[in-house]
């Protein structure tokens, strides 16, 4: 759309459409475009292609100006995975377990912290088998905090150096469920001061502006350290993470690119920014 075109209102409209359609949201899109108005006026950006490149760079910078993810040299390092229903928490945990064991040579133990949803424990069990790691489960309906406690306990007894806690999907607007999440965190901290060392929010790339509300409310309940953006193998661009990175300074740690155990990659801000266009 931009090759060889001069910068005029039509070009600006087109770029606005591209970014809003990529789920960046209007405020973020306008901020990014406004931010380049000076350069356009001073003819430092002479055509539409240059403007597009500058926008991509601006987005990349926002995504890079985030807090660094916590160091993982705890023993055991405890990661808690949270998010609304169906976004890909359990699947991402399976992928992470595989990645940590294969490429980082860690000894992973999974905690089946979703004791509510039908067959949630069974689902995580399959992933533990596929990743070749341990899993701690209790019966359906058990207290998730008890499972988390048991898992940290088991990790120390068995010499596992990385624990990943799966939690039940929950809408961020449900106060009692957010309280349950806080309790899991408190109980884990009691069992191992400093834990959970890392809390990751899983976001579905098909989600629109509601992701901002999700990030804000989950962050208020249990301070987040980073995001996992799933289902980027679809046609949705996941642009809402730009607003989240800007407002909450949360880094996107990994992206999910499919349903297989290998379909997880570290986030690349430059690649992501370019793909939005």
């Amino acid at each position: 759309i931009t090759l060889g075109k001069k910068i005029d209102d039509e070009v600006l409209d087109e770029l606005e459409e591209v970014l809003v359609t990529a789920d960046l949201g209007v405020p973020t899109t306008l901020e990014l475009i406004e931010g380049l108005r000076g350069k356009v006026a001073r003819k430092e950006l002479d055509d539409a292609e240059a403007l597009k490149k500058a926008l991509a760079q601006g987005i990349q910078t926002v995504l890079e100006n985030t807090a660094p993810p916590p160091s993982r040299d705890n023993d055991p390092h405890v990661i808690m995975v949270v998010g609304v229903n169906g976004v890909g928490k359990t699947t991402s945990i399976g992928k992470l377990a595989h990645r940590f064991q294969q490429t980082e040579k860690r000894q992973v133990l999974l905690a089946a912290g979703d004791t509510f949803r039908a067959a949630a424990g069974e689902q995580l069990e399959v992933w533990a088998q596929r990743a070749g790691c341990d899993i701690v489960r209790q019966k359906h309906g058990a207290d998730p905090s008890a499972v988390a406690w048991d898992a940290v306990d088991a990790a120390q007894n068995r010499g596992k150096d990385l624990v990943i806690i799966d939690t039940a999907g929950r809408l961020h607007t449900k106060v009692n469920l957010m309280e349950e999440l806080k309790k899991v965190q408190r109980v884990v901290a009691k069992r191992l001061p400093g834990a959970p060392h890392e809390v990751l929010l899983v976001l579905d790339a098909t989600t629109g502006q509601n992701a901002v509300s999700q990030a804000k409310l989950f962050h208020q309940a249990v301070p987040l350290n980073g995001l996992i953006l799933t289902k980027l193998d679809g046609t949705a661009k996941g642009g809402v993470v730009v607003a989240i990175a800007k407002e909450l300074k949360l880094p996107i740690c990994y992206v999910g690119l499919g349903e297989g155990i290998e379909d997880l990659r570290p986030f690349d801000p430059a690649e992501f920014a370019k793909a939005l266009f």
């Binding site: 459409e17 809003v20 359609t21 609304v84 039908a118 067959a119 069974e122 509601n210 289902k231 679809g234």
Partner: protein, 292 residues
């Protein structure tokens, strides 16, 4: 909300009936922002604003003592018209057993909704039968079996070594043994751009001839909603949409977009994780939450 924002836009008006072009432009911008914030599709919002503009420069607003309220009234009317009047009911017409097919992206709520639907039909005096046609996702068959057990609805014992099309065909015998009159096929989540998997859905539909092919879509879906719904509809021929996770704070613009572009009726909404959390769709309620 939009009413407040429009009141703000017009609060500097001296007297009445003297709305300038700028006033109207400002008002339209507020409406557009509200729609995009609510995840209404970019093009749908653009077309919608064009319609509002036509009416906004007419007598009803220009001569009004309360132009802000008039604009809100017009927006609400146009939204209501777009969403359609009543929700269209489930199709319960046809030779028994009726077949319902649940399709959609990964994680949208198909399995849970299948069970909710079975419970709802049971309450209406029907004999539902659940078919776990997802042989892909870990413990998916088990998930539907557990849900079926919770509501005492029989579930086909899918053969994990088979394939989804064969499972659906084979399940008819099981349904017949239970004297079931509605069979609900729960399919695996898939991307609309996955050719082989979309072909698989088409094969199931061609063989089983469902009276309902429902797209189960997440209420928090963003701009991609139209893309997903159009593709599923073009490839399969859908009869309706079930919107899930509606009880959250997602504004639900995806629903408006799907209705506007693809024209499919939203038949039901999922309003919670429990199996009784299924309601009829209320178009006017959605209009209200889209405007915020």
């Amino acid at each position: 909300n939009l009413s407040d924002r429009l009141a703000q836009t017009f609060k500097h008006l001296k007297g009445h009936g003297k709305l300038s072009e700028k006033n109207i432009a400002d008002a339209l911008r507020e409406v557009r922002l509200a729609l995009l914030e609510a995840d209404v599709n970019y093009k749908v919002a653009k077309d919608f604003i064009a319609r509002i503009k036509e009416r906004a420069v007419g007598q009803e607003v220009m001569q009004s003592l309360t132009p802000a309220q008039q604009v809100v009234k017009i927006v609400n009317q146009e939204l209501a018209e777009l969403m359609g009047g009543q929700a269209e009911p489930l199709n319960l017409v046809g030779r028994s057993p009726l077949i319902y097919m649940m399709v959609g992206l990964q994680g949208s709520g198909k399995t849970t909704t299948s069970a909710k639907l079975a419970l709802e039909l049971k309450k209406r005096g029907r004999h539902p039968y659940l078919v776990p046609a997802d042989l892909q996702r870990p413990a998916a068959v088990e998930q539907l079996k557990r849900l079926g057990a919770q509501i005492e609805v029989p579930v086909w014992d899918s053969n994990p070594k088979s394939n989804p099309v064969e499972v659906c065909v084979a399940s008819l015998a099981g349904a017949s043994r239970e004297n079931a009159d509605v069979i609900i096929l729960d399919t695996a989540g898939r991307l609309h751009v996955d050719e082989p998997l979309m072909a698989e859905l088409k094969a199931i539909k061609d063989k089983l001839l469902p009276v309902e092919a429902l797209l189960v879509a997440d209420a928090m879906t963003g701009q991609d909603a139209v893309n997903v719904a159009s593709t599923f509809h073009e490839r399969l021929g859908l009869t309706g949409v079930v919107l899930t996770k509606v009880e959250g704070d997602a504004r639900g613009g995806a629903a408006l977009s799907i209705k506007a572009v693809v024209g499919l009726p939203i038949k039901l909404v999922g309003v919670g994780e429990k199996l009784d959390a299924l309601e009829t769709f209320h178009p006017d309620r959605l209009a209200g939450r889209i405007l915020g």
